[in-house]
Assembly symmetry: C2
Amino acid sequence: MSDLADRCRWIGVDWGTSNLRIWAMDAAGQMLGERRSDKGMGTLTRAEFEPAFLDLAGDLLPEGRVTPVWVCGMAGARTGWAEAGYRPVSTRALPDAAPIPLDGTDSRIRVRILPGISQDNPPDVMRGEETQIAGYLAGAPEFTGVICLPGTHSKWVQIEGGDVFHFASFMTGEIYDLLAHKSVLRLTLDDMDWSDEAFRSGIDDALARPERVSGYLFAMRAGALLNGASPDVGPARLSGLLIGAELAAARPYWLGQEVVLIGAGRLAEIYRAALGHAGLDARIADGAEMALAGLRAAADAFDKGD
Amino acid sequence: MSDLADRCRWIGVDWGTSNLRIWAMDAAGQMLGERRSDKGMGTLTRAEFEPAFLDLAGDLLPEGRVTPVWVCGMAGARTGWAEAGYRPVSTRALPDAAPIPLDGTDSRIRVRILPGISQDNPPDVMRGEETQIAGYLAGAPEFTGVICLPGTHSKWVQIEGGDVFHFASFMTGEIYDLLAHKSVLRLTLDDMDWSDEAFRSGIDDALARPERVSGYLFAMRAGALLNGASPDVGPARLSGLLIGAELAAARPYWLGQEVVLIGAGRLAEIYRAALGHAGLDARIADGAEMALAGLRAAADAFDKGD
């Protein structure tokens, strides 16, 4: 038995659409190691999930003991490893009872997938974000305020006394990628440097006249044709316009609120700068750390006595 | 010499990004025939334009006579057959003087490309639409009102006493195609029927809260996940949301104005329905007829005495 397998007591898994990340955890809740793979949920058929997991984690599993595996994210979607459903708002970020373990898996593991959260009016869903939120709330159980999770489908979440109360998703990240790489704007954005000033002007324009954004977008293309390359036709302007439009729509969420951004790297910094420009000082909590903290909260709550 | 070549006095060409359409015209300005090809400007290098034209029109060209060829559209772009530039607003839809013929073409043709129209503030351009506008104005020289040209990049154009005074472009058509075919919404829209009611609800929601459109879009995906297929998550809703957002931004153009839609088929009907739902009765003028009428206006103005 490897030293890691000897010390590993449970495994946390964040299984997104494009990536898979696992953490080996010891008896004291300390992380022994992290591994990643590009075998995201979007690339796998149902039968391929367990082999993909075992490829990455097989040597962490001691024989003769059942290792709990806690999974969050898109692995719980209808076309994922097993459908984990949604719990409607208002709700705690983690379920009240342990999810039922998956049937028929390798005898060394007991796999439980955390459910997402849904909202009826307006219709909305999250899957994976609820675990990051649980991770944040593990360190601030009575938090009341707003959590923003930037990403492909960014989310604004109102938290009331530790409950997920209401939320709204926006397609900002996906629309940015489509416009930057698949639309006529790709001809404009190529090789342009970032400009803080162009970013802020995009935020200002979109916040002031959000209905004009699709006009402002074509004006970037026209401006490039008429006046050549400039920051006003570059990626910072596009980012500012789209995030500004999101801020305009999400204003009831953030205006006058305490806002925590859960995310990582450049994207979280960009959202923090956008909120700062709108007069709000947001804190950043690291997205991967929050996912792991949420998985740990589930393991702590439901694996006692295992 | 073919009968067509004997009677053909000039050729009109509408050369767009994805399609090429030509009309053979007789001495009385009557159309002898129309031909189309999919050799759009987007698929051709500069050297390939003349061969593509001659493939389609070669048998229409008598020997021993120079046939005028009038071209509008993207063939005049920087990467087209030859750059035809832009004329700034406010301006007549057609130039005041005949464009300079292209150098070095086949001796049987004299090719002139009509320039586009530009606007400095906000930056905007059109190329091809100005000829359709000229075609409409040929039949209504003193028109004052608004012309809307739906399409990949739809345009709203204020006409004052026959002049192009101001205009605004929106990426509505391109964004629809990206969302319907490349985004997560493609999973929702597949095989869904059109619903007038869902279309109108999309217009209403976007007109009332245009800043929320990217949220309404994700709500379609969430609604499909939670409640299954319904018109509220289908293409009519997407179309209503995006056209409604455009109408919200273009409101200064159409509110209380006389509006003419230049376009064809389903898209023109959809815009007419959208404007009708917003309380405005727009007329439709056929896009291809207007392009040909504009080319004819150029030939009439500049080929006299040829």
